[in-house]
Symmetry: none
């Protein structure tokens, strides 16, 4: 007999044949090892890049778990079964992503059941949850989604607040009596991440002795390369340092991730605060904020809200990412204002088109156009990007790029501008140009604030 | 006794204990299976995203090889040995990247030797090659690079024209007498890619009988969900179908990838053409183009270029992705025009702001604003998105979303519009709304072209 908890009551298991066995054998704690399994034809054929595994590796590392293997496998039942069998043998924790959808290709439920020698059973509360999800969307649940409520005997559903695929939390007992714990999550990154943070991470921490607390904090930087940042930080990025400082780069934005472990949450936070101060002393001039999703445009909107000023954007050339970024910020908690700081954005091919739009003569300067726009649209600041380069290579430079001018119309009537050669891999070039523009705008803010 | 060929004479093996055995057992040919192994702490910890494996998966697939497993492992000898042992057992071809450098962390040579039970032997020509490489850079070879000339007995060095690490080509004989062929390449992407193309791919094709050709083709669709598309395609997506049809979804756009194998390239292309027709019969109303990177905005620009008309975009609310997408299209070969079809984009908070921008009274309709803009900016078509929803959930719907109106100002003076409830995961909601807008615009194109 197996009873499942309702999907809402995650983590609370009513019955499991393995319940009385320890999570992993005692002499291995707290050194928990892990394997990450990624399931799907789109990964195995190279049609899609597997970013889930990278994310999970980072998160498990922060929890003190020693990730030792990643395995990717196609949507083939026998291969999936083999992969789960091997993983359960060699890793204490197995986190799998993908294969939980409602189609014939989704085989994770069967693969886990078969590899552990367990039958699949219907979990009524999960079925009700899935039905309810469709109902709220005004649809009947298709018959094929029924299989998403099937679970290997003895497993616990992992609540999925965002989709119809619940995860699976199940223990495998090895020949020597030790256990491996398998967490199967959907492949949709957002669902996977939420479920990992809400359900898997707490379970892993609890299994890891519960005294060990972990906290992390992310600081963001722009205007410095990775190697230069590493040189500035010196020993701070050593792997055995506590708290550990990890460096990652995404489209020219540097993130420093401080991970502290300690006996109490307060001890973790205190250690993070000290390390944060140390980092600011070394690289403060490039720092613009904290938090994984905090970008320079957040820093810009925050500043404008504080001083009660408004920004208009004009993007010329082969891209217009800033309009999209700033439109989205107004939706984020903490960045709203009675009078939104973002007036709006204009995307045009070139300066001639801007003259036509603003009704200026053919020889009008960019400054004249910006002044007209600023007055007409009640903006305090205007940032002009002139212009986003082509993504194609030129003979002069190994990477695509070009000279880009950032012209700012400031509230005091001045027009600070800078021209830089900006080149980068095509996949990040436009974002890099946009960020360099925001870096310049932020410098103009500082000059204006200090009255220089 | 083992003799190696000089690294320059790649592929020509003088002696191997396995030479007389076939590459893989006859009844499995030409169905060659493969496993890709990626070696390195930086991948296993998530510090670096593994793009080598994706690249190799795509290339091996094109060679007609059935990639079945990817494995990633840290720089730990025992784990590496296990991984090679498992791979040699289950895959005909094993392609490994990483671990061939000169440092203590580079363990691939030892791991392969140990997993196959072969001793490592110095290969003098490789040592000379490495010494020469340093000499040309004006340096003495450090002692630690000596290990890069050590090879498992019976293996063939794979020439590396760009670096000091030769690759390893070695055969493992299984218990049943069949063989697995292991190719170990460096982790540096440029070196890995050159060595794969120059040495590994020809070896794999030769082993595959050389008669088998492969071709693929991608078709794109919007306006239909994945499950509904699967239902429409029926048996066409069966895994044993020839040509095979694979389905993937990215932000509500569906890609169907047709992969055909045959005796000649023409046979492959003919099979693809037939399957493509069959798909169009079943789901043609949602089809908008061909090619991995072809999106609806490409279809829109292509149409506008054909009919010599121009488009202006007005995006209201919490996003403005279309301005960025369309600005970028003008940079792509095949989509340029003397008079660019994309006039420009405006991103604003709401309709009130649009009235202010266009100098219209507070009670002016959206249609009036669009007409004014169209005339002022010499556009034929205007698409208004009113408006991009908040990414936050509401009580009514499990996913964020809202009613969105797409209003089109058509050249004939009509204003076709549609209002839809659009909801999706926050990571794709704005893109989905933008794509739904383009779907509506394309319908308006069809109506205009047919004179309805």
């Amino acid at each position: 007999m197996t009873r499942f908890v309702a999907p809402g009551q995650r983590g609370e298991r009513v019955f499991s044949p393995f319940l009385l066995l320890p999570f992993c054998h005692a002499n291995r704690m707290p050194h928990i090892t892990a394997e990450i399994i990624s399931i799907g034809d789109e990964m195995i054929t190279g049609a899609r890049l597997d970013t889930n595994t990278q994310w999970l590796s980072q998160r498990l590392g922060e929890l003190g778990v020693d990730v030792q293997f990643h395995t990717t496998v196609a949507d083939t039942l026998s291969h999936n079964t083999d992969v789960f069998r091997i993983a359960a043998r060699r890793a204490d924790v197995v986190v799998a992503t993908g294969g939980l959808g409602p189609t014939r290709d989704d085989l994770t439920r069967e693969a886990i059941a078969e590899s552990l020698g367990l039958p699949l059973q219907l979990h009524e509360p999960s079925l009700e949850f899935i039905r309810g999800m469709f109902k709220r969307r005004g649809r009947e649940m298709p018959e094929r989604n029924h299989c998403q409520a099937m679970f290997p005997l003895g497993s616990t559903p992992i609540h999925n607040p965002q989709g119809t695929a619940p995860g699976i939390d199940v223990r495998a007992t090895r020949e020597d009596g030790t256990q491996s714990r398998i967490f199967a999550l959907p492949g949709v990154p957002a669902e996977m991440k939420t479920m990992f943070d809400e359900s898997v991470a707490p379970a892993v921490l609890a299994a890891n002795g519960q005294r060990q607390h972990i906290a992390h904090h992310i600081m963001k930087f722009f205007g410095i390369g990775e190697s230069d940042m590493e040189a500035k930080l010196g020993d701070m990025i050593a792997r055995d340092r506590q708290p550990r400082v990890g460096i990652t780069v995404s489209a020219a934005t540097i993130s420093l991730r401080i991970v502290a472990t300690g006996d109490t949450p307060d001890a973790c936070q205190a250690a993070i605060a000290n390390t944060r101060e140390e980092i600011l002393e070394k690289a403060g001039e490039y720092y613009f904020g904290d938090g994984e999703t905090f970008e320079q445009h957040h820093a810009v909107i925050r500043h404008l809200n504080e001083v009660g000023q408004r920004l208009l954007l004009v993007e010329l050339g082969r891209a217009a990412p800033l309009g999209d970024w700033f439109a989205a910020v107004s939706d984020e908690p903490g960045f709203t204002a009675d009078v939104p700081a973002f007036v709006g954005g204009i995307s045009l091919a070139n300066l001639d088109d801007l003259r036509q739009w603003t009704g200026m003569p053919d020889d009008a300067s960019a400054e004249t156009c910006l002044t007209a726009l600023r007055q007409r649209l009640s903006a305090d600041w205007v940032l002009l990007v002139d212009e986003y380069p082509s993504l194609h290579q030129t003979n002069d430079h190994p990477l695509p790029g070009s000279d880009v001018t950032f012209l700012v119309a400031a509230p005091d009537g001045s027009f600070p501008s800078i021209t830089q050669h900006l080149g980068a891999h095509p996949s990040i070039l436009h974002a890099r140009v946009a960020k360099a523009g925001l870096f310049w705008l932020r410098k103009c803010f500082v000059t204006a604030s200090s009255g220089v």
